[in-house]
């Protein structure tokens, strides 16, 4: 019988970290404004304000930082949820917070608040994410199954409201703006967006990072995990809170970005012997890397209209889904 492949933790973590740094460097040096790496470096290091320096520090750096925060949120949330629910299809949108964030953002566009105050969209997005998370929790706290079902119910309720907002959009332009926002993007994001989302994302990531022991024990099922001293209710609450905070904040600033949270843990899992706790850190790093790469993709693939980030991740993610099905068909008894 084949033994489970296993790498020492630091090898995988270091490799993921190197990949992340490379992707981050790429994100700073590649873009629509065609400037050579030397010009950009020179611009950043020069004491006087200049175009190349501004492109890096005011446009590309906040964008890269945001991509890392959002990607790490999605990757870590996916890993925690898959471990908690022991379901390979669990992803950050499952608990309804993504759709809640999208609804909040769309409401801000609907009433034209976004034009009055730049950060109205992400702020309302966070309110929406928290409301959706609270609703999921209120109905689904009693067990894992009810949590999934309640998340699905809240998700579809939020989608219904989203459709309603599109249906009664005050103008064709507003409808266009709403639907494009939902496609997800990191363009035109500034340090304001980073500072708005970072505290929530940081807190959410910190909460999720503490859950390794619990999701490991859950590999034995709810009852055995409970008998090993794991507080199941508290574990569910922490997961919902962590995912709600970081995915809610992430979706509020970027719009919906699918598949990263689903894909990252799957790519990591075979290298860590499938142990849930050991997927956490690498999934966060890989999620950040994948999102940076996808964002670079939207910039270097030349199209007349901007290729939206969420569209690119969905296009690349769908084939992965097929691969997952084929693989599960082989593995499943």
């Amino acid at each position: 019988m084949k033994s489970a492949p296993n790498l020492p933790g630091y090898v995988l973590t270091s490799a993921a970290l190197v990949a992340l740094l490379l992707a981050a460097a790429g994100s700073l040096f590649l873009g629509r404004v065609n400037l050579s790496a030397a010009d950009l470096l020179h611009g950043v290091l020069s004491p006087n304000a200049n175009l190349a320096g501004l492109v890096v520090t005011e446009l590309r750096l906040p964008r890269a930082v945001l991509a890392i925060l959002v990607g790490a949120s999605l990757g870590l949330s996916g890993a925690v949820l898959q471990g908690l629910l022991r379901n390979p299809l669990a992803e950050p949108g499952l608990l309804g917070v993504s759709n809640g964030a999208a609804l909040g953002a769309v409401i801000s566009i609907y009433f034209g608040l976004a034009h009055a105050f730049g950060l109205a969209t992400p702020l309302l997005g966070m309110v929406g994410a928290m409301a959706a998370g609270a609703l999921t929790f209120a109905f689904g706290r009693s067990s894992t199954l009810t949590l999934i079902l309640s998340g699905a119910a809240v998700s579809s309720l939020m989608s219904a409201f989203l459709a309603l907002a599109l249906n009664f959009a005050p103008s064709p332009y507003a409808a266009y703006e709403m639907s494009v926002w939902m496609l997800g993007s990191l363009s035109e994001r500034s340090w304001d967006h980073v500072f708005l989302a970072a505290p929530f994302i940081g807190l959410g990531l910190a909460i999720l990072a503490t859950m390794g022991r619990a999701i490991d024990a859950l590999a034995l099922g709810d009852v055995q995990a409970q008998s090993l001293g794991i507080h199941l209710d508290r574990t569910r609450v922490l997961a919902l809170l962590g995912v709600g905070l970081c995915v809610g904040a992430a979706t509020s600033v970027t719009g919906s970005v699918s598949f990263i949270g689903l894909v990252a843990p799957h790519l990591v899992r075979p290298f860590v012997g499938h142990q849930p706790s050991r997927t956490l850190l690498p999934s966060a790093l890989l999620g950040a890397t994948l999102l940076l790469l996808a964002d670079i993709g939207t910039r270097v693939i030349h199209t007349n209209t901007e290729l939206r980030l969420g569209v690119l991740t969905a296009l690349l993610g769908a084939p992965f889904f097929f691969w997952l099905v084929v693989r599960l068909r082989k593995v499943a008894p």
Partner: protein
């Protein structure tokens, strides 16, 4: 030695008493076989004894302290619980699965401390899993998985082991093997409580027999004294013949009682 006591223990589900006013005292060194018809309340009683479900009335105490008052991690270090047909949800290696039994002994972060590594090897050797040590747990046969789960339960060196039908689904060889391990544990002074359907195994290996009927305790005492055709008629509704002495007892069912 541990002392596990149930006092007027009652557990209700949707108004119906699944465990109804049950009282007894168990002590380390005993291997208690819990028997009863399907739906008699065995699993619920075991879960309540393990502190996994709360008593609606009465209480369970371990060495004098109510289970509800013992910190859940401290309790997890002192008693192990094996549900019916436990399974692994991810293809983790057998040694990782067994090591999960140390969860209540570990700090919140980090891998297995080096000092616990010998215990892991010991538990794997004791349960005859050396050849499967690195095999994904989801690919184990039923007997191998049962051994791995038993190793998982025993690695933390609990004083009390509560197992719900540990021999369910096992072939004769693996059943004997499992019950033999439970008997050996009791001989070391631990308390073992196991629900069992195979009365011949219970008759041969257990020190005490506890019989449940409709949520109530129908009989409890040393196995050799209380395992009689009359008890089986009352508890299971069957006519049975019991032959042989303790070590070689044989329980044979003849027909349903009229």
């Amino acid at each position: 030695m541990s002392r596990l006591v149930a006092a007027h223990l009652t557990v209700r589900r949707s108004g119906r008493a699944i465990v109804d006013d049950v009282s007894f005292a168990l002590e380390g060194g005993g291997f208690v076989a819990l028997v009863g018809a399907n739906g008699a309340g065995k699993s619920t009683l075991l879960a309540a004894l393990a502190g996994l479900i709360a008593a609606d009335e009465g209480q369970v105490t371990l060495d004098g302290a109510s289970l509800a008052a013992i910190d859940r991690r401290a309790l997890a270090r002192r008693r192990a619980y094996l549900p019916q047909n436990p399974r692994a949800e991810w293809p983790i290696a057998v040694e990782r699965l067994v090591a999960l039994g140390l969860t209540p002994h570990l700090p919140a972060f980090g891998g297995l401390p080096g000092g616990l590594e010998p215990r892991l090897t010991e538990a794997i050797e004791a349960c005859d899993l050396v050849a499967q040590r690195l095999q994904p747990a989801t690919t184990l046969s039923g007997g191998e998985l049962a051994r791995a789960m038993l190793a998982r339960a025993l690695i933390g060196d609990p004083q009390v082991l509560i197992a719900d039908e540990p021999t369910a689904g096992l072939d004769p060889r693996h059943s004997l093997d499992t019950v033999g391990r439970l008997q050996a544990l009791a001989a070391q002074g631990k308390l073992v409580v196991a629900a069992m359907h195979d009365l011949t195994l219970a008759a041969r290996y257990s020190t005490h027999l506890m019989a449940m009927l409709d949520g109530r305790l129908a009989a409890f005492g040393p196995t050799a004294e209380i395992l009689t055709p009359g008890l089986l008629r009352r508890v299971f509704g069957v006519e049975a013949r019991i032959t042989g002495d303790a070590g070689e007892a044989l329980v044979d069912y003849l027909r349903p009682s009229g």
